[in-house]
């Protein structure tokens, strides 16, 4: 199988080792380790998973099994401005689907993808708990409430460089 290999720098390997060590290299801490690794690298490329597997002494297949089980973990780098559209029930009945469609249309990417320039990525999340503001969209840390499809272009414009 051909796949792009990302060579990890020694520094990065050391970072992963450090993370694993901070959890005493315990296999039971796999999810906590992956959280921290994703926080550090932004995503979990195969190579990171391989180092984690080796450090925690678990098969890399198992690590991959865990990574692909949880929607929070991603093997694709997120965009510089990750867009998260809440598709919780409250947002859904107030039109989140249309807002999501508008983002997809404008950026020409699907959910879980990143634009080719690496600027935006779209993901869905289930209820951020701001149901009073439904539908809710988050771009990075910033929350937009009562978003309508018409607002999408303006929101994206805010991130023009």
């Amino acid at each position: 199988m051909s796949r792009i290999k990302v060579e990890l720098k020694k520094k990065d390997v050391d970072t992963i080792r450090e993370i694993c060590k901070s959890f005493n290299n315990l296999p039971g801490e796999l999810i906590n380790v992956l959280h921290k690794a994703q926080h550090t690298f932004g995503y979990l490329p195969a190579e990171v998973q391989e180092v984690v597997a080796r450090e925690l002494n678990v098969p890399v297949a198992k690590v991959y099994g865990v990574v692909t089980f949880y929607s929070f973990f991603s093997m694709i780098p997120k965009g510089k401005h990750p867009i998260s559209v809440c598709t919780g029930t409250a947002c859904y009945v107030r039109g989140a689907e249309n807002v999501l469609a508008e983002f997809k249309k404008n950026l020409k990417i699907d959910v879980g993808e990143t634009t080719s320039d690496g600027k935006f990525s779209i993901s869905c999340l289930r209820c951020v708990g701001a149901c009073g503001l439904a539908p809710v969209v988050m771009v990075g840390e910033k929350t937009y409430g009562r978003v309508s499809p018409e607002m999408v272009k303006d929101i994206l414009k805010e991130y023009d460089e």
Binding site: M1, A61, K62
Partner: protein, 591 residues
């Protein structure tokens, strides 16, 4: 034992506490259909994920149906195994499984031997509702040198995952993804070939559908047999003769050596040889290597590494090449009997019959899937031409004999051809766990002590224990032997060695339960250890019946050294009969 009274299908029964409904029903003659469930009780594996939901039964007072494989009986329980509710649920669940399964039974390798197909027949499924709108979960097909993964046929029983992780501790496979797209695969959905897979084939052996099958070489074989320019010769491994009969409904443990030879001859092989011959050769090389290391060790040479580990099992070789790379120095460098045979056949024997290497096709019949991979290794090729061209499994051979409409039962007993067909009892026992080391001891003892071994049966080395050890008396010198079968047991043994917890002189390891007789290419034993025990008994019967029972007494082996090889561990042997190991973990971790 505390007993529990309950009712199953209106039968009053008394069953020990802690028994599952499935087993309780079985005890009173009610066979509840199961699919994902697998009980390898003698291997300490009871796989009951409760995933397929085929075995559900109705329990009075319970809100929903209970999976009988994993629900324990309780006092006063009233179980119905075939109420309308149960039958409807079971049928609906099966239809759901089939709705996500390719309907290509006619061309499926498992056809006729498929648990899912059997259930569909049993329940009389005639249509799948809303098939036109039913999306299928589809995956990339993966063909490795030994195993084909066609995951479109995976039903998520997870048996392979259990074998690969819990029993073999290889960890090549894991459930991945979630929901409808969940499936069992190697990390990153890479090819099996790029993973830590050892090709032990235990996953194939337990797969209830056609999702995991062996690479089929029989078509190639038929083509080669029909080619007038090729001389096709065959070698058959010791474990094949004690299991092939099962493919023809003979009881487990039936010895069919003579019929096997006859069948192969009728299939058109020019020479029918025996891997047992090269097993004797292996003992000469490996035994000598053991003695050499032992002698140097005893004389205080600190550079010598002990224990020596056997190296005839290719699954095991793959295992340590990817998981115990710090111990690559310990295993014997002797090639496996399959490869020694190929090497000798394409040199010594090819010269003898004056056939060019390229025109000689060496086929092996093996109880093993890793052998398919082993013969593709670059170390075992000369100018790109492999010593062994390909290997076919016991199962494939069974199918081939049927395909050629040879009536196996009425075949006469025939003898192997010479010179590569003569073997001793020591070679036959290679097929059972403990056998290789016993064979080695028979020879090493006599060479080391220069005394005749009176009692050749080392019962202390036999048995089904996962990890066994024994100390043998080499004329005053205690020799510590370790034996493991199943890679999970091997791992434990190796970790003990690594940590310095145990010190053996020699260790035998076989990847499969029971050794080669339980190999991934054998007729399916479905975890029934009684079958494995019967095959083992047949192996030792064959040994006992052999006139010569020590490898170094095989006249053709003696002749081979005289005419061709010189001496064990000599220059020629080194080139033709030994190998080196590579660090395969590099393939897996890129740093």
């Amino acid at each position: 034992m505390e007993m529990v009274k309950l009712t199953i299908d209106n039968k009053q029964v008394e069953i020990p506490k802690g028994t599952t409904i499935y087993k309780a029903a079985k005890q009173v003659g009610i066979d509840i259909p199961v699919l994902c469930y697998m009980d390898l009780k003698d291997l300490n594996i009871e796989h009951k994920p409760g995933g397929c939901r085929i075995c559900v039964v109705e329990v009075e007072g319970r809100r929903n149906l209970a999976p009988s494989c994993s629900t324990e009986v309780t006092e006063g329980m009233n179980v119905k195994t075939h109420s309308i509710r149960v039958l409807n649920a079971r049928r609906t669940v099966l239809e759901l499984l089939l709705s996500d399964h390719p309907k290509e039974c006619l061309t499926c390798a498992k056809s006729g031997n498929c648990d899912l197909q059997n259930l569909a027949i049993m329940m009389g499924i005639r249509e799948i509702h809303n098939e036109d709108i039913a999306e299928m979960s589809t995956y990339r097909m993966d063909t490795s040198p030994a195993i084909i993964r066609d995951l479109n046929k995976c039903i998520m029983c997870r048996r392979c995952e259990t074998m690969c992780n819990d029993f073999q501790t290889v960890g090549a496979l894991s459930a991945i993804n979630r929901g409808f797209m969940s499936v069992v695969a190697p990390a990153f959905e890479m090819d099996l070939e790029d993973s830590v897979c050892t090709y032990c084939g235990q996953c194939v052996a337990v797969c209830p559908t056609g999702a995991l099958t062996e690479v089929d070489h029989t078509r190639q074989l038929i083509r080669d047999l029909a080619n007038p320019n090729k001389t096709v010769i065959v070698q058959t491994a010791p474990a094949v003769r004690v299991a092939l009969g099962e493919m023809f409904d003979l009881p487990a443990g039936t010895l069919v050596t003579g019929k096997l030879v006859a069948a192969l001859r009728r299939l058109g092989f020019k020479y029918v040889f025996d891997t047992d011959f090269s097993a004797d050769l292996t003992i000469m090389e490996e035994g000598t290597e053991l003695l050499e290391r032992l002698t140097r060790h005893l004389s205080g040479d600190k550079t010598v590494k002990l224990p020596i580990l056997t190296s005839c099992c290719p699954g095991w070789v793959n295992f340590f090449e990817s998981q115990f790379i710090d111990m690559l120095e310990i295993p014997s460098t002797a090639r496996s009997p399959q490869q020694m045979f190929g090497s000798i056949a394409k040199t010594y024997f090819a010269d003898k019959i004056q056939v060019k290497r390229q025109d000689l096709v060496v086929v092996s019949i093996m109880p093993c899937l890793a052998k398919k991979y082993e013969c593709t290794r670059d170390e075992f090729k000369v100018d790109g031409n492999p010593d062994v061209d390909y290997s076919i499994s016991t199962r494939e051979l069974g199918h081939l004999i049927k395909q050629a409409n040879i009536d196996f039962h009425s075949l006469p007993d025939e003898e192997f051809d010479n010179p590569l067909g003569e073997s001793t009892g020591a070679a036959v026992i290679f097929g059972a766990t403990g056998g290789v080391i016993e064979a080695a001891v028979r020879t090493a003892y006599e060479i080391f002590t220069k005394k005749k071994l009176e009692k050749v049966d080392f019962l202390e080395l036999r048995g089904m224990g996962g990890i066994r050890e024994a100390t043998l008396d080499f004329d005053g010198l205690p020799i510590r032997i370790g034996i493991a079968h199943g890679l999970g047991n091997a791992r434990k043994l190796l970790e003990d060695i690594r940590s310095g917890k145990s010190n053996y002189h020699a260790i035998e390891i076989m990847a499969c339960p029971g050794g080669c007789i339980g190999g991934g290419g054998q007729p399916l034993h479905h975890g029934n250890i009684e079958i494995l025990k019967k095959r083992t008994a047949a192996i030792y019967r064959e040994d006992a019946n052999k006139p010569i029972r020590k490898s170094h007494e095989n006249p053709y082996i003696i002749k081979l050294y005289e005419e061709f090889l010189g001496k064990p561990l000599g220059e020629k042997s080194h080139k033709l009969l030994h190998t080196h190991y590579v660090d395969k973990s590099k393939k897996i971790i890129y740093i």
